[in-house]
Symmetry: none
Subunit: 235 residues, 2 copies
DNA sequence: TTTTGTGTGAACGGATAGTTAATATTCTTT
DNA sequence: AAAGAATATTAACTATCCGTTCACACAAAA
């Protein structure tokens, strides 16, 4: 059950009371919630924050929910659930034809909304199962996290998971220094508590594997700070 | 945008009047409709006819809609919309948690149902875009899921279904690692709860059957992660 | 030099996978 | 419907891997 969801939900409704109420329930379910009380702002926040799902009221000051839905659909297939006090069939049909995935009529219980969100994300999750290959490439180096493979000069090198994850993380953000604690948080996981010298050992083993392969990049120590994947390449 | 691809909808409801009424509207929209008035029959028809979407009433003679939903979800991710006169939140939540994609409360207008069907199929459509290949081939290996046959170097090898399904799934996405949980979700069905060690045993038996056949591919263990079908072929 | 931080090798121990066999379940056959 | 066969799952045990820690050597700053 790998359902660690810190998924972002954009909640758009001019009724601030409902917003706060729903926000509480959603956060309680493990979602992080972005609030917006008008259409303009909703579109801006959507573009900026790339939420994983949108809860969209129709009645909004300024541009209405229909319009927001249209705007979002121009660029994105993000799951959209419309929520509205208007329960007429024609409204539902319009909403769904505009590209919404569902239409819930107020008033509703929080449980219901959450169940719908979960169901929709479950459906989408399977659909978008494999977006882009998680892979970084530099001169003679390929780290692929789909196949958990490290290839150096075309040759596959057997590498334990933690080493690979560490290398992938560093190489994903080249030239940026990370402290040992940051690496433990990011690669090992937030709740992990252990000796930060573990990092050193993994770095050492990676260096052995990558020794003398290329002069275009390297795992560098930043004394007193941490480690970085250094490169001059543009990739 | 009436997509004229004659998608099959399985409509399960014991109320024959509603069935006929909905059937008419659906066919008018270009869907072909399979009717079923009880749970047993629904499951049988589902397995036999592989509909593209299921409309499922809860109140049924014999096994009820919940049970039918569970049965279907054991094997398939087909879109399911529950339709019921019961409008309680708890019913909706249960339905959605059982794996349904949506829940509509009777009475409703046909337009609404159709809009929901279209919306859901639109959402799923992106996923099923690729016509599912029922056969994968690699050097000396053929896995055919129509005939449920495994052929190795031209020779048919008797293989139990689960083993074959597992191999097929892995080989369909070569070089990609799947955790045991993912495999249980994808091959066994997402509502399945079981010991992930089961996977190991199936892998072992597959390896016995495939041992030494080709050096162009292999079932590989990725330690601490899961399994993958590894190959360098372009297929 | 002192102090603090890093490199390195070895070793321990827990987590993970392999394997076999027993049990449960499903499917066939009568 | 019951018995039997085939398959799937679980359980128990073993083998192995690799993540972690420790100790000490070494390097950099002050």
């Amino acid at each position: 059950m790998a359902n660690e969801k810190s998924l972002k939900v954009l909640l758009v409704d001019d009724d601030k009371q409902i917003c706060d109420w729903l926000k509480m329930y959603l956060e309680n379910e493990g979602y992080s919630v972005i609030l917006s009380h008008d259409g303009e702002e909703a579109v801006v926040k959507f573009n900026a924050l790339k939420p994983d799902l949108v809860l969209l009221d129709i009645m909004l000051p300024g541009i209405d929910g229909w319009q927001v839905c249209r705007e979002i659909r121009k660029k994105s297939k993000v799951p959209i659930i419309m929520i509205s006090a208007k329960g007429e069939t024609i409204d539902k049909v319009i909403g769904l034809e505009l590209g919404a995935d569902n239409y819930l009529v107020k008033p509703f219980e929080a449980k219901e909304v959450i169940a719908h969100i979960n169901a929709l994300l479950r459906r989408v999750g399977t659909a978008n199962a494999e977006p882009e290959a998680k892979e970084v490439r530099f001169d003679k180096l390929v780290v692929n996290m789909d196949s958990y493979e490290l290839r150096v000069a075309g040759k596959t090198i057997d590498t334990p998971p933690k080493e690979l994850e560490l290398l992938f993380y560093l190489a994903s953000n080249p030239n940026r220094v990370y402290t040992r604690d940051q690496l433990l948080d990011e690669v090992w996981g937030f709740e992990y508590y252990g000796d930060s010298r573990t990092i050193d050992v993994h770095i050492k083993r990676l260096r052995e594997k990558l020794e003398g392969v290329s002069d275009k990049w390297a795992l560098k120590t930043v004394w007193g700070v941490g480690y970085k994947f250094e490169t001059e390449e543009e990739e």
